[in-house]
Assembly symmetry: C2
DNA sequence: GACTTTTAGTTTAGGTATGAATTATATCGC
DNA sequence: GCGATATAATTCATACCTAAACTAAAAGTC
């Protein structure tokens, strides 16, 4: 078995290709998960190599970049879909790096607003440009129509999942 | 802002809905990532609550279930797309739980084959049935045709990404 | 057969992750 | 006002995860 063929074995490659049975949704989830992990791994490793930044930190910067006035920690935690306890430590490191600042809300002293510094914005701008290039390259086999269809179908999937979650609690 | 509306804010909700510009691929990646994380978080938390098992361990068991004769650690690492160093510890814990066994290959003493125990198979069978139910429920808003289209398009996306990665190294 | 190279796994250091318990602050109900 | 409740964030214990350095075993080279 050579390098090339080995690289193609992953979590969902080996599932039997039975046509149209009742496991289709499971297979869809596996495939989605595989693509997501494949791309995330690549982005993570390039962010580390080229910018010495971790994926979670980049993720936080992406959010803050879009909201110049800043976000409170809880909002950040919800948007990134990570636990509040997690945010604390990552924020601390981004502050140590001088990429973000954190200000206690004087009207509600429980809340802490974080926003980018000029340095953070400058650094993020470079990363974002490179990042978009990587993504474009990873997606180069998709036609504009494919991209459009996927956007619509994934939105439908997201909506489906959220509705299902809302029902179950 | 009530609970319901808060729950809908995530990493890609807030991006401007400009029609058809050159950032479509980036938005596609963001949406894919969001759906994947949403579903993974749900699966993870239910596995923990209902079976007291972590997602990574379930992931390993899924692979081993499909290959009764077992896999060597490196194959497992490739299929799951995680680093070899990671596998070591998780395998150790699954062995402590008695769900898998590990045997050194006598023909090549570098290789260690792991496979499920009867206990592991029994436990996994229960988990897998529940897991499939959760996924089905999360996907209930998708028609069979949606599922089919998504399978094809995600395969195309995976192929695109793999080809791009193969070129870049 | 000894020497280099390759391959399989482990170890280590540093950085996420979660859920549960805790602290500090705000708000509600009366 | 004031106790009960709710919310924002932190801390802690535990578990993952990666990259890089390392050990051990096998395979290739001469």
């Amino acid at each position: 078995m050579n390098e090339q063929s080995k690289a193609w074995i992953d979590a969902e490659t080996k599932i039997a290709d039975a046509p149209e049975d009742h496991h289709d949704q499971l297979r869809l989830w596996l495939r989605l998960f595989t693509v997501a992990r494949l791309m995330e791994n690549e982005v993570r490793s390039r962010l580390q190599d080229q910018f010495d930044v971790t994926f979670p930190r980049f993720d936080i910067l992406s959010q803050l970049y879009r909201v110049p006035e800043g976000l409170i920690l809880g909002e950040l935690s919800q948007r990134l879909m990570v636990s509040p306890g997690n945010i604390t430590a990552v924020i601390k490191r981004l502050m140590d790096d001088g990429l973000i600042v954190r200000i206690q809300n004087p009207n509600d002293r429980r809340e802490n607003i974080v926003r980018m510094t000029p340095l953070g914005t400058a650094r993020f701008t470079e990363m974002a440009a490179a990042h978009e290039g990587w993504i474009r390259s990873l997606c180069e086999g998709l036609s504009p129509a494919d991209v459009k269809s996927l956007m619509a179908l994934l939105l439908k999937m997201k909506t489906s999942a959220r509705r299902s979650l809302a029902k179950s609690r």
